[in-house]
Symmetry: C2
Subunit: 417 residues, 2 copies
C-alpha cells in the first residue's frame, strides 16, 4: 500500500467514524447480532483459513503456547459469537449524560458521552481479538483499524470478512472497520503518524511492541502491557485462605496477564506457610525461584535472580520472596511490579488499608485472587484489554473506557462580562 493510498484509507475511516457516531442503538445491536450469526454460519470457512495459519506456525516451529493461542475450534468461534450477542445487550454508552449543572447565569452545562473517533488496535496472535474489538468499537460508536499479528493473517482475514458481511446488512458506514493484512511494518509506522485521522492507538502485547509504538506514535497511546502481579501473604493472614488464593492466582490459568508471578511472604509466618504451599505448587508442576530467605526454608528451590523479580513468566514458574512486612512488600511491588494487579492476604484491617492505599496498581485486592482483573468479572460485560496506564483508562477497559465526552451548553443569549 502506498503512502497516499494509506492516507486516503484513513480519511475514509475518519469520515465513516463521524457517521457511525450518529447511528442509533437499534441498528448497532442489529448489526452485532447479524455479525454473530455470520460467524456461526461460516465456521467451516474460518476453520479452514485458521488451519493455514496453524500449519505455517508449526512449520516455523512456533511455541506450543503460541500455537494454542492461535488455534480456533468450533466452540471458540461460537464463544466469539456469544460475546457479540452479549455486547448487543449491553447499554449503549453513547449520548449518556454524565453530569448536568445549571450555572448562576442560567447556562445549562451538560457533559455528554461521545465516541472517541478512530481507534487503531495492534494485537497479538489470538484471532478472537478481531471479533471482540470490532464488536466493542461498533457498539461504542468508534471506527477501528485493526492490525493483528502476521502469524494469524488468514484467520483474521476470514473473521473480518465474515463479520463485515454481517454488519453491512444494517447499513453501517462501510469504511468504519478496516483490517491491515499487509505484513509491511512501514504501514504501522505510517499509521502511527496520522494525527487528526486516528484518535487513539492501543497496542496489546509485549515490551518490544509497546516500546516501538510509544516511540513512533504521534497519536495518544493507551498501553496494554505486561502483568507482573504479586500476592503478599501477611503475618495476620488466614494461611489456608492464603494458600488457596495463591494457588489459584498462579495455577488456574498461568498464561494470562492477571496471573501471579511473585509471591511475597511475611518472615514471621514463612516457616509455617511455605512448606505446604510449595508442595502444592510442585504437585501442580510449578517451578519455584526463591530468595535467600525462601531457600533457607525450601532448600531445593532454585535461586531467583534480580531479573526474575521483573519477569512476567506467563508459565508455571513462580518467584518467591520472604519480606519484613507490609512496607517491604509495597516497596518490592512498586520497584518490580507493572502496576497491574496485586493482592494482600490478611485479617488485620490496618495492614490491609495501608496496602490498598499505598500500592499504586490498577487493581489492588484484599483476600482475593488477582485472576479477577477482567472486564467480565468486573461487570463490564466485555473488555477490549487491560490498561496499564494511568491516563484515560486504567485496568479493565470496557465500552465506557472507549468513549470521550463533550460539553453541550444551552443558553439564551448569555455573554461574558
Amino acid at each position: 500500500m502506498t503512502e497516499s493510498e494509506l492516507k486516503r484509507l484513513c480519511e475514509r475511516v475518519k469520515a465513516a467514524s463521524r457517521a457511525l457516531a450518529l447511528i442509533d442503538t437499534k441498528a448497532k445491536n442489529g448489526a452485532l447480532v447479524s455479525m454473530a450469526d455470520s460467524l456461526v454460519k461460516n465456521i467451516p470457512y474460518i476453520l479452514k483459513e485458521n488451519g493455514k495459519d496453524i500449519s505455517w506456525a508449526k512449520k516455523k516451529r512456533l511455541s506450543d503456547a503460541l500455537i494454542d493461542r492461535l488455534t480456533l475450534t468450533s466452540s471458540r468461534i461460537e464463544s466469539m459469537a456469544d460475546s457479540l450477542k452479549t455486547i448487543s445487550k449491553l447499554k449503549d454508552p453513547v449520548g449518556e449524560t454524565l453530569e448536568s449543572v445549571r450555572r448562576p447565569n442560567g447556562l445549562l452545562i451538560k457533559k455528554i458521552r461521545v465516541p472517541i473517533g478512530v481507534i487503531f488496535i495492534i494485537y497479538e496472535s489470538r484471532p478472537n481479538v478481531t471479533s471482540d474489538c470490532m464488536g466493542l468499537c461498533l457498539k461504542s460508536g468508534n471506527a477501528c483499524i485493526l492490525r493483528g499479528a502476521s502469524d494469524a493473517v488468514n484467520s483474521n482475514r476470514a473473521i473480518f470478512n465474515v463479520l463485515t458481511k454481517g454488519a453491512l446488512k444494517f447499513k453501517l458506514p462501510k469504511d468504519a472497520f478496516r483490517i491491515i493484512l499487509d505484513k509491511d511494518r512501514r504501514i504501522v509506522e505510517s499509521l502511527l503518524k496520522k494525527t487528526g485521522l486516528i484518535d487513539l492507538v492501543m497496542p496489546r502485547g509485549g515490551e518490544s511492541l509497546i516500546n516501538s509504538v510509544t516511540k513512533e506514535s504521534r497519536i495518544p497511546v493507551i498501553k496494554h502491557y505486561k502483568g507482573v502481579c504479586h500476592t503478599y501473604v501477611d503475618k495476620h493472614a488466614d494461611l489456608l485462605m492464603a494458600q488457596d488464593i495463591c494457588f489459584n492466582a498462579k495455577v488456574q490459568r498461568p498464561g494470562v496477564c492477571n496471573a501471579m508471578e511473585t509471591m511475597l511472604v511475611h518472615k514471621s509466618i514463612a516457616k509455617e506457610f511455605l512448606p505446604p504451599m510449595i508442595r502444592r505448587f510442585r504437585d501442580a508442576g510449578v517451578e519455584i525461584r526463591g530468595c535467600a530467605g525462601t531457600r533457607r526454608i525450601v532448600k531445593d528451590s532454585k535461586p531467583a535472580k534480580e531479573i526474575d523479580w521483573y519477569t512476567e513468566y506467563l508459565d508455571l514458574i513462580l518467584s518467591v520472596k520472604v519480606v519484613d512486612g507490609v512496607d517491604d512488600a509495597i516497596s518490592h511491588i512498586m520497584k518490580y511490579g507493572s502496576s497491574h494487579s496485586d493482592s494482600i492476604v490478611t485479617q488485620d484491617k490496618k495492614t490491609a488499608a495501608k496496602f490498598l492505599k499505598e500500592t499504586d496498581s490498577a487493581c489492588v485486592y484484599l483476600n482475593a485472587s488477582t485472576r479477577f482483573t477482567d472486564g467480565g468479572e468486573f461487570g463490564k460485560g466485555a473488555e477490549i484489554g487491560i490498561s496499564t496506564d494511568k491516563i484515560h483508562a486504567r485496568g479493565p477497559m470496557g465500552m465506557e473506557e472507549l468513549t470521550s465526552y463533550k460539553y453541550v451548553i444551552y443558553g439564551n443569549g448569555q455573554i461574558r462580562q
Copy 2:
C-alpha cells in the same frame, strides 16, 4: 544539568509524588493558604524580578501582546493568591469513591480517585501559570515539574521560591515541586523520555511547541492547543441576540483561546445581519476578512484566504463566511476548526439539536458566547488549561481531570473458577 543529575531529580520527584499522594486534605489546604500569604508578602520582590524580564523583553522588541502577558502588577499577584485560596476551599478529589459494585461472588469492587503521579507542564510566558499549576497539582496530590518560557525566567524563579517557602511550612515532601530554569532545550527533550518517572506531559502553547512535544515524548501527552472557535448565525436566529453573542465572542478579550475567530452566517439572513454587525465590529477596531459572499454584501471587506480559515488570530481580526445552512456550517467547522468551542445562534430546536450533536468539539454552545469555555465559568473553581484532546480530559481541566483511579477489591477468599 547533566543527564544523570536530571534522572536523579526525576527519581526524587517520583518518590515525593508517592508521599504527596498520601498527605491529608488539611495539610494540603494549610499549605495552599500559606503559599497565598507568602505571595502577597513578597510582592515587591516578585515585581522587581518581573521587571528584569520585562526590560529584557523590551530590549528584544517582543510584541506588546507578549509583554502584556508577561507583566505582573500588585493586583495580578493578589489574584494569583486568591486563586490559591479558592483551591484550598475546593473539595479534595483524592480518595473519592467513583463507583462501587458488589459482584455475585461477594467481591466488593470500588473505583477510587487517585492522583496521576508526576506531571510535567510546559507553558508560555504568563507567570501566573506557575502559581495556578502548583496549587492545582498540590491539591490533587500530584507532584509537578514546571518549565515556563525562557522570557519569564526571573519572574518564575521568584514566584516558585516564594511559593515553596510557603508550602514547606506544612512539611510537604520537598521534592514534589520542581521548576526547570535552565534554558537548555535538551533538558526538555530528555524529560520527555523519562517514562516510569513522569506520568503525564501537558504542553500549553502554539503549534510548534505542541508538535515538537508530541513528536519527542514517550510519555502520554494532553495537548492544550489553539482555539479556532466559530459562531454560526442560523437563519432562525434572533439577530439582535446573535449580534451581541458574536460581538462578545470576538471583542471582549480577543487574545484568548475561547475567542471567536470565524463567524459563519446563513445565506438567507446575511444581507440583513451582516451590515449592522460589521459596523459594530469595525467601530471596535475589528478587521474583517470575508469570503466572496460576504464581500458581495460588505464590499470593502478584505478577502479571506484559505489560510485565514485555519488561523487563530488572538487579535481584533475576524474571518466571515456566508454558508448554505447548518450542514455547511458543521462541515466548515470540522474542516478548519480546532475542536475547541463552537456556537450556534438559532431559535429552531431541530437545527440546534443537529448542530450540538454533529459538531465534534470539546464545547458546543446554543445561544451563548464561546467565551464561557473556562474552568471557573464551568464551576470547576480553577483550571490548569483547556484540553483539545479527546483522551483522558476534554475542554476545561480542573482538579478532577488531574486524577486517575484505581480499583480496590475487597474479598474474603474468592478464587476464580
